[in-house]
């Protein structure tokens, strides 16, 4: 018994399919977006439904500086990938490090905010509905920032060892898609928590 090779003799087709890394990442982003949607809906639904304080308008202040940090990291990672694609590995390394630093600054901002909320304002995840939804939504986003920073740091280590070369630009680009998504989610979380919910 022999397998039948299936070919079409006279056919020469142009065959160009999308890169699987990008498609896979877009699919992951769709799944993540669905998870965030549910948390955002829960947050919006519970605005103003807390039975006890503290209320958002009493304790939240808009984190403009750290938001600017996170959003500008999207710009640095984009330019970093472009530099790598053009073969400029040093620029890539500097900008990649800048991305990590900006992301870490954002996390520091969240940590300070949470510290103040817990120790000065007495708001924990079990205090009231605002606490439950606030820490869940911001924490879910924060955990995505942590995962992103861990992945970015691995690439940074590879880059310092001299192992990230222009032919890896496509892979690094896939990771940058994830980082852009994390930033885009922050725009939504920021709007919901600090603008609508306050």
């Amino acid at each position: 018994m022999k397998p039948t090779p299936v070919t079409v003799a006279e056919q020469k087709v142009e065959w160009d399919l999308p890169a699987r890394g990008r498609v896979g990442m877009f699919a992951l982003i769709a799944a993540e977006a669905a998870i965030f949607t549910i948390f955002v809906v829960a947050y919006l639904f519970y605005i103003g439904k807390s039975l006890t304080g503290p209320m958002p308008k009493d304790v939240l202040s808009i984190p403009i500086f750290y938001t600017v940090c996170l959003l500008s990291s999207s710009l640095t990672i984009h330019v970093a990938v472009r530099a790598l694609r053009r073969g400029n590995r040093q620029t890539f390394g500097i900008l990649w490090f800048a991305t990590i630093a900006l992301g870490a600054a954002f996390l520091y901002g969240t940590a300070r905010e949470w510290h103040r909320l817990i120790y000065q304002d007495g708001l924990t995840i079990s205090t009231n509905l605002f606490g439950t939804t606030y820490y869940s939504l911001v924490g879910l986003h924060g955990s995505h920032v942590i995962v992103g920073l861990a992945s970015l740091s691995i690439v940074m280590v590879f880059a310092l060892l001299g192992n990230v070369r222009p032919e890896h630009a496509e892979r690094v680009d896939v990771l940058s898609l994830y980082w852009h998504f994390v930033d885009a989610v922050w725009v939504v979380v920021f709007t919901v928590v600090y603008l609508i919910g306050r």
Partner: protein, 557 residues
């Protein structure tokens, strides 16, 4: 012929010690082996879930029976529902998709083989976690030792107050973990279909099974994620003292229902669309005609996918929503009947005028056509809100969705087993045993689920552990339980057939059904690399073109 590449563990491997063979299975990233692992795993849980159903039916065989206690009854229906949906139906769907999609699109593996293995082991671990609750859930409270909150786990039953101990935690964690596995596999299938097709296979030339699994994967990504989010919230409530579903602190029990059914209803289509996929491959081959209305079939599937995402609250008519919401969900639910009807007519039109061969797979698909039609009709009845107010949460509902899941989905899955078993094992299934299985299961199915509608109409609620005599429910419950015996025997015949055929069945050859899609062009079982040379195709039925060079399909498509 590389039979040892795909043999079941511990068999046909005289040259290799058992440990080596098992090691090969545990560390494999081959889509075919992972597909078989998924399927074998699902079959084990099918038997467990079936035993749980049997225990419930024995308890309900007559009024005031005390075969099991009310507490155990609660655990049985919770474990039965959770097991059958998450650890039988989903792994079966993913197993066949894993095995067939790369072969049908002429690829050598999935897009992400390691993610594939990771997803399978997550799913497997989720199932073990659920059943570990039997040992580990007792805790210090003397509380129940298995989840008993129902498979949709409505708040506030899941709160710490009403569910002490850890049984609900095992339920939550099991579903969370297997949910991650499902999302991983769905991403993998989607990417494989978009990025790994062989030259010439444009989207419009993919086999229908591939198209339908594409839509299924998209739905898993959008529907299982909300369940994951809801489980995370439930864990925040139970472990960290959160208030998402805590009405005492202003939280809402209804929002859990919404979040659960935003997953729960698309899940039905996640399961039934692959069933459509099997029917769409099997019916044409045994009618000796190409599928009728291929583009319309694709369009109808995508349409079902879209509408299926927006009907979830028809599970909640009895909760008391606004009349606007009720109207919307009634109409969107009824709208699903249109693309589904198109599909049924297309399958009938495929059979019309064909040279039909009633082999076992075809018998199961014909049974599916009838039963799925009836399931759809009771579905339309229940989609009318006033009718649902009368019969919501009754045995009529139970009969309806078992008609979908058993009569529709399980029947085509059995058909798929008989159809692709020769490809997976290299051996033909025994036709006599196969037909015996079909008739036993058909009789058992109709005894159980036809007659289950009646006590529902007479007002018997679901999830009661016993009932008073003299309400007119007794004889119906007796018949329903008798049907289970037939289904059980049918399942034993099925498992016997698989095992017997694997060892003693006659050799299948690469193309036993004279079929047309690419998986039949390679060996049975396929070698690890699937295709020695990557195929190139020009039409939807490449093997037809090969067998009939004078009259190929691509001249007409």
């Amino acid at each position: 012929m590389s039979t040892d590449a795909i043999a079941l563990p511990g068999t046909g491997m005289a040259s290799r010690p058992l440990v080596d063979a098992l090691h090969g299975w545990v560390t494999t990233v081959d889509h075919k082996r992972l597909g078989i692992l998924y399927i074998g795993y699902a079959l084990v849980f099918l038997v467990i879930g079936g035993i749980e159903a049997g225990i419930m039916r024995i308890q309900l065989i007559h009024a005031h029976n005390d075969f099991i206690s009310p507490q155990v009854f609660n655990r049985m229906f919770t474990m039965h529902g959770t097991t059958m949906i998450f650890f039988v139906a989903m792994p079966l769907v993913f197993g066949f998709a894993n095995y067939l999609v790369p072969l049908m699109i002429g690829a050598r593996d999935m897009a992400f083989p390691r993610l594939n293995a990771f997803s399978f082991w997550l799913t497997a671990f989720g199932g073990l976690l659920l059943y570990f609750s039997l040992v580990g859930a007792n805790g210090l409270y003397g509380a129940g030792n298995a989840p008993d909150v129902g498979w949709f786990a409505y708040a506030p039953l899941t709160s710490k107050t009403f569910s002490v101990g850890h049984s609900t935690d095992f339920w939550t964690l099991g579903l969370l973990v297997s949910g991650f596995g499902s999302i991983g596999t769905a991403i993998n299938i989607l990417t494989t279909i978009l990025c790994m097709r062989c030259p010439g296979m444009a989207l419009g030339k993919m086999p229908l099974l591939v198209w339908l699994n594409f839509v299924m994967s998209g739905m898993v990504i959008l529907a299982v994620s909300p369940l994951t989010a809801a489980q995370l919230m439930l864990m925040v409530d139970r472990y960290l003292g959160g208030h998402f579903f805590d009405t005492q602190a202003g939280g809402s029990a209804v929002i859990w229902m919404h979040f659960f059914w935003i997953f729960g209803h698309p899940e039905v289509y996640v399961l039934v669309i692959p069933a459509f996929a099997f029917a769409s491959e099997i019916i044409p081959v045994f009618s000796r005609k190409p599928i009728f209305g291929y583009p319309v079939m694709v369009a109808a599937t995508i349409c079902i996918g879209f509408i299926g995402m927006s009907v979830w609250a028809h599970h909640m008519f009895t909760v008391g929503m606004s009349s606007n919401a009720n109207t919307f969900f009634v109409l969107s639910t009824m709208a699903i009947a249109v693309p589904t009807g198109i599909k049924i007519f297309n399958w009938l039109a495929t059979m019309w005028g064909g040279k039909i061969e009633f082999t076992t797979p075809m018998l199961f698909c014909v049974g599916f056509l009838f039963q799925f039609l009836i399931a759809g009709l009771t579905g339309i009845m229940l989609s009318a809100a006033p009718f649902d107010w009368q019969l919501g949460n009754s045995y009529f509902v139970v009969a309806h969705f078992h008609y979908v899941i058993v009569g529709g989905i399980l029947f085509t899955v059995f058909g798929a087993f008989y159809y692709w078993f020769p490809k997976m094992s290299g051996k033909m299934c025994n036709e006599t045993l196969g037909k015996l299985h079909f008739w036993l299961f058909l009789i058992g199915f109709h005894l159980t689920f036809d007659f289950m509608h009646v006590p529902g109409l007479l007002g018997m609620p679901r999830r009661i552990y016993t009932y008073e005599p003299g309400r007119g429910w007794d004889v119906w419950n007796l018949i329903v339980t008798i049907g289970v015996v037939f289904q059980g025997v049918g399942t034993i015949v099925f498992i016997t057939n698989l095992l017997w055929s694997y060892y003693k069945g006659k050799t299948a050859g690469s193309d036993p059904w004279d079929a047309w899609t690419l998986e039949w062009s390679t060996l049975s079982p396929p070698p690890v690399y699937n295709f020695a040379s990557i195929p190139e195709i020009k039409s939807r039925r490449p093997l037809w073109d090969l067998k009939h060079p004078a009259d190929p399909d691509w001249k007409y498509e």
